[in-house]
Symmetry: C2
Subunit: 351 residues, 2 copies
């Protein structure tokens, strides 16, 4: 229960998935904004652009020609941050100059042959195809790699350089910082409380209903109690599920449905194709497949940058980089939670 | 010593101040950039703008009139994220819904009466006045608050909404995440190796000379071995100094000098008023003043967003938010290190 007065005054909230705190300043939204205004997203994206390297039939940077695909389309990133072969920098290093080998693969997956759609504008069965492909990739790459990071950078504001709907999948020979931290936190919680952290959390949120954005029989999307980005959400199944490839056919259909609803709410909020970075976190793979990972619960994080409108974002800068994340309104004040817009009124018409 | 081949291939590097790793992908700079291009900073900023609330003699949002200041000018942030009074949210909370009281003050400090200067364009003695004021604030606010965060967000790209040269100082009743982590890391290193982490590091870098940007008899500025932002730097004294208020008069003059030289190098790099967020980390204060903090070494972090030019920044998005920081060139490849531009050729003439 929220003690009286907390939501009106600055306070700290604990993020149990990262073992960090966020400074919640309830009323900073009132300050006038004379700072940088972003470009609104491109309104008229052609369905097929002969110069776009992600469209069916077009030629990519490395000279390869895309097939005439009609569903999802997967290919190797032409400028990968991770490649399967890289020399080992060697051990026996000074403690302040430590390096380690990093190997992996970077793939790109187009969601749809058309450039002018996004996940919420795609048909449910088309979104299911994306989910099936995600599951396949985690199965396949996860057979050897300890971590498979599926992520989508959506919108120019999030460093996405191509409007064609797509995501990336980077598999690595190491467990990256964020999942390593999340693993430690979930494990410690499970040991102490006898139940997976996120399962207990989902139950509490479904009861409280203060921060729920969308819920279905199988899934829950909430603005987490410890959200740092203004409109951050956490999407997770209600059943105990370790990895995306463990989802049943029904749960995948339910996921497509809740993703469409959540993203439609986002789009409607500021009447724009809402930018965000999102990604999946599930139990580690590769050598970790044989370990006990029952402390894990599959979930997706959505980190959208917008604060006030389609063109004014939250800057995570000086204080946030050097001291601690800070937000300008409480998670309970976030109006997608209480949004009265019917969840299928889309900001532009679907095909 | 760098083992042969490491700098040409992706690898991980360890950040001993944060106990995390960064993915270094040496050759990602080659990929073409078709993504978002930022606005270049305003070229013609009037020296005095009657509508700018930070200029001498002007009226601020709360109706207060600024004095006709001729050096630095300090005032309370009109929209503070931290205020001295806030109720305690109470203890006895569910482990997944934990909150804590947060109290503090937020101050703004103008560096100079003119809007059209920046630190590198100010006279050395004017910069010394800024440093003296920083020291005074750490002394004063640090007498009770455990943490005093001095930071500067420079440029619209870093969420700075006013071109007038200024910084902020947020003092808090709690030790924020980043300094708490840095404190743990420095303490553990000191215990294990018998010497402060950053003192040992500065000595090594001064010998290696691979990543040094500017050095003087008292100070050192390097692109740290574990830098995440492309042009990130670490600025620190060579002597063991815990806090900024412990600096001697001579060291403050030396600091003004090296700051001007470092920032001039930044400005020259892409011939622009280089955006960044920077801030000081020193030993904690308030109740920590009576503890042994000999593991600490005063230092400033500079986090500039630019990657390729004055208008193309590095996006820390999907993979970085969800998995791990990733950089597109090695710290040794960073050309401010090997920059042949004489360090006082400024991108525009000084007054
Ligand atoms: O305080 P300002 O300059 O209004 O705001 C800026 O710096 C703050 C502290 O880093 C951030 O929280 C804000 O997002 C940013 O816009
Ligand atoms: O891979 P892309 O889309 O070229 O690049 C984008 O996503 C990457 C992974 O989050 C980031 O490292 C880049 O800074 C960003 O521009």
């Amino acid at each position: 229960m929220m003690v009286h007065g907390t939501t009106e005054h600055q306070h700290l909230r604990y993020n149990p998935l990262r073992d960090t705190w966020v400074l919640v300043s309830a009323h900073r939204m009132k300050r006038p904004w004379a700072g940088q205004v972003e470009k609104a997203p491109e309104e008229h994206i052609p369905r097929h652009d002969p110069r776009n390297p992600l469209c069916p039939g077009n030629t990519r940077a490395n000279g390869e020609v895309n097939p005439d695909y009609d569903s999802t389309f997967l290919f190797e990133n032409d400028f990968p941050a991770l490649q399967p072969d890289a020399p080992d920098p060697g051990s026996d290093q000074h403690p302040l100059f430590q390096s380690k080998a990093a190997r992996g693969v970077c793939k790109v997956m187009c969601f749809h042959p058309w450039s002018d759609v996004t996940l919420p504008l795609m048909k449910r069965q088309e979104v299911v195809k994306v989910i099936d492909k995600w599951a396949e990739l985690v199965e396949e790459l996860g057979s050897t790699y300890p971590w498979v990071q599926i992520f989508e950078n959506k919108g120019a504001m999030m460093g996405c350089s191509n409007p064609h709907p797509h995501c990336q999948v980077w598999a690595s020979s190491f467990l990256p910082n964020e999942p390593a931290l999340s693993d430690r936190c979930q494990r410690a919680y499970h040991q102490k409380h006898g139940e997976p952290l996120l399962l207990q959390y989902a139950k509490q949120e479904a009861e409280k209903k203060e921060r729920v954005v969308v819920e279905t029989s199988d899934w829950l999307a909430v603005v987490p109690y410890w959200a740092t980005w203004p409109y951050q959400t956490l999407l997770l199944p209600r059943r105990h599920v370790l990895r995306i490839n463990d989802l049943t056919t029904e749960e995948r259909e339910g996921l497509a449905d809740i993703m469409k609803r959540l993203l439609t709410k986002y789009d409607n909020l500021f009447e724009t194709s809402f930018p965000y970075s999102m990604g999946w976190h599930g139990a580690p793979t590769g050598p970790h497949l044989t370990e006990d990972n029952s402390h894990w619960q599959l979930h997706a994080h959505y980190y959208p940058p917008l604060l006030r409108s389609a063109t004014v974002k939250k800057f995570m800068v000086g204080y946030e980089m050097l001291a601690q994340d800070q937000r300008d309104l409480t998670p309970e004040q976030v109006n997608i939670v209480k949004c009265t817009v019917p969840s299928f009124v889309q900001y532009r018409v679907t095909h």
